[in-house]
Symmetry: C2
Subunit: 148 residues, 2 copies
């Protein structure tokens, strides 16, 4: 697993309030957004900040998660992108071998690409994903592209 964070996701109980702060308040330009669902902002060279409903984030990790299980500062994940579906499972296995806990095995997610989740020993959660629709370029720019 390369030392790389691609996305910092903040799970919020009030997406509209989060959007108001970052987009309208601070003036940051969304890289991509689905109104009412998720907002992505570029926050560095090849780095995105995602604002997402906290319950939706919890359900993406565990479909059985009860509403309100994680809200506010506790609902944080770091995302690590890889280049193939096979690499998702490989990285999850490597994380487990290193002392982590796999929370969601590599699988085709509702969002249309293969991903999984693991937790490090103190509980911080990482998504490992192969998302051909999300391109990180050498110059640091990041784009969401349409699937062919």
């Amino acid at each position: 697993m390369e030392p790389r964070v691609h996305i910092i996701t903040l799970g919020t109980p009030d997406l509209a309030a989060a959007r108001r702060f970052y987009v309208e308040g601070l003036g940051w330009e969304p890289t991509m957004e689905v109104p009412g669902e998720i907002v992505f902002l570029r926050v560095g060279h090849g780095l995105l900040l995602g604002l997402w409903d906290a319950d939706a984030l919890e359900r993406d990790i565990d479909p059985g998660a009860p509403p309100g299980r994680a809200a506010g500062p506790a609902a944080v994940t770091l995302a690590h992108n890889v280049g193939s579906d096979a690499a998702v499972a490989e990285v999850l296995a490597q994380a487990e071998a290193a002392g982590g806990t796999v929370l969601k095995q590599a699988q085709l997610g509702d969002v249309g690409f293969v991903h999984g989740y693991f937790a490090d020993p103190v509980g911080f959660r990482w998504e490992v994903a192969h998302n051909p629709g999300l391109v990180f370029r050498a110059d640091g720019s990041v784009s969401f592209v349409e699937a062919e």
Copy 2:
């Protein structure tokens, strides 16, 4: 405030366990570390991941924080670096104007540089710092340098 995250800090109740996972388990090379206190790993173009004792992190925000107030996934901050001491206060004021809450006004911290903290509307905390000893270069590399 520019849309930029420079450091992702994970507050952990067990720094040794966190270090074992990232450094020994995953094989990530520390960019800088103070044994037993803090570990910095480069996790992207101009992006660091910091592993820090959760109670120390809480006390850096609020010296009166009781031990154990935040542990595990809840203890997360994002850091934003600026180019002057004055800019720290300016960014804190801008964040407050945008709907955030200043948790620690701009001040000379124990670590030897001016910083402050604010929380966004859902409670996610950002450190704003002017740290001349931490250099982010155009090529994406990051270095800690000695003060002159």
